[in-house]
């Protein structure tokens, strides 16, 4: 079982608010992986939209993304794409 960790930057102008957070949770569920997002000392479950929103990740925030599970490499690839897009480019 793999475990990958990467620092990713939120580039979306409005930050990681409800709609992009919802899309992110969707991705996590699609890959069936365990994800932890960490901002400073705060770590939240990647499946918890409330947790993600509570991070208050605005544009430019660096998040440590830790992915665990069989599909971890593929999932991380998708996450990187997710983080590199503006909200309008995201398809749920």
């Amino acid at each position: 079982m793999g475990k990958i960790e990467k620092d990713l930057v939120v580039i979306n102008k409005k930050g990681l608010h409800a709609r992009p957070a919802a899309i992110f949770v969707g991705l996590v569920e699609k890959f069936g992986v365990a994800v932890t997002l960490t901002k400073g000392s705060e770590a939240v479950n990647g499946k918890s939209i409330m947790g993600i929103l509570m991070l208050g990740a605005v544009e430019g925030t660096v998040l440590k993304v830790c992915v665990e599970g069989d599909e971890a490499p593929a999932a991380m690839l998708e996450f990187e794409k997710f983080f590199n897009k503006q909200e309008e480019e995201l398809v749920p």
């Binding site: 409005k14 930050g15 608010h17 409800a18 709609r19 957070a21 919802a22 899309i23 949770v25 969707g26 939240v44 479950n45 499946k47 918890s48 939209i49 409330m50 947790g51 929103l53 509570m54 208050g56 605005v58 749920p92």
Partner: protein, 580 residues
Amino acid sequence: MSEIVLKGIPAAPGIAHGPSFILDKGEFIVPKRSISSSEIDSEIARFEEAINNSRREIHILKTKISQDMGQAHAQIFDAHLLVLQDTTLLAQVSSGIRDTKSSAEYVFFTVIKKFVEAFAKMPDEYLRERASDVSDISKRVLKHLMDESKLHDLESLQDELIIVAHDLSPSDAVSMYNKKIKGFLTDIGGRTSHTAIIAKSLGVPAVVGLKDATLRINNQDYVIIDGQKGLVIINPTVETKELYLKEQTKITASLEKLDDLKNLPAQTEDGKTVSLLANLELSSEIPAVRKFGAEGIGLYRTEFLYMNRLDLPSEEEQYQAYSQVARAVAPFAVTIRTLDLGGDKFISSVQIPKDMAPFLGCRAIRFCLERPDIFKTQMRAILRASVHGRIQMMYPMISGLGELRQANAILEQVRVALRDEKIPYDQKMKVGIMIEVPAAVMTAEALARETDFFSIGTNDLIQYTLAVDRVNEKTAHLYEPAHPGVLKMIQKTIDAGHNEGIHVALCGEMASDPLLAFLLLGMGIDEFSMSAASILTVKRMIRAVKLQDAQRTAYEAMQLDTGQEVEEFVGAQLRKYLPS
């Protein structure tokens, strides 16, 4: 914690102490309810069911929105759905129910509140607004967990509390008729604000115009209200508490003494009898009306039948309500004021456009003349009820003869219809008008010839005469009942009414102040209507004075130049007769 004293405007007398409750507009009130160990599992199941039902609703909404407006608009509902399957959230609620043995709605409410508060504090504006998304979702769930009608209902509060609010709207009033409330504190408002009216009719103290009480006081802070001086003491010391407890005992004793006056007539020493009546909002206040020995109802504010509901009250429902009051008050009369909406009173069933200056907008009689359907229904109900006691009717905010004639023409149509349908009603029912608009005062002779009585509504008359918004805290100090301009308006109305041989009543907070009531007695008011709790204090004044002294005082007061001079002079005169 040190003692903090806030100063506001005294709005209702008395002393109260106890824990505070900050009433947040639009927020749901979810009472703490304990459950037994055996109920834990079913309570969790109830919570899960509420979540499932809410999800189902959101799915339906999402489908509809994406069909109607496109998929992009529906995306936000994905976020809402995710919140409702959020493991962190759901786990916190389930374990909360188990650990604290509290009801699902209370635990859910507390958990959500923590999230909402955290969002509200976020520095980024866009993220901060997520707070409203989350409270939106939580309201949906709470509606499945609680009886919807209870969501804003203060009745569900369990402890005796002191209510702290930015302002109380008239529609809050309905839920305030609750013995558990010990007093009111508000940021804005003046002596005649609705908070004052509600507090007086409940017989509890109130201090208004405190500016930032909702920020300075925390939920559950222990506070003392001094309704006489307009003070609020937050976290009082032991000494302060003792001082106020003694004061409270004194007040109770003097109230008991007043009680002896209940069955005595309101007659001056030289034999002039005055009628002292009560103002009424809800039929649930009738016991208080009796308790204070009111000789009828001088102002029945019917708006409250229309508030806090989504539909309009039917003719039958109104008929029942008016009949009940008429029977309860008999043999005394009840004066029903027709619907006085607008200004600061709104209802859900009818959209009233928000005017730039609501007190000058389409309110009261103006609204009723625009909506004869609503007006006629009320008139039919009042006329039908008139056979069950002594009912009088009056129109609010008449500004001239044209409006009075229009209203009477509609009334005539309703009478004819009832006659045709052979439905009985009191054919001699008196129909009067409220004098609240300066233009009505200036044309009072003409109005008096076409109406059965006047009732001066001083709260609005003062507001319109002095061009002072009585809801605006910045102008509250300009609201002067004893202003010579106001007194001349009142005198002109009384004289016009008496010249034409009709009764002139006065309903408004002015009547409940013994000093001003002494002045008004001298000016010739025939009938005073006020909050029931003030009646005995005013009666005590009337029984201590002579009409001729009041008349002489009024005559001299009318020669003075400022409101302050009037109050000082009348106060000095009254003290000669009425030892305090």
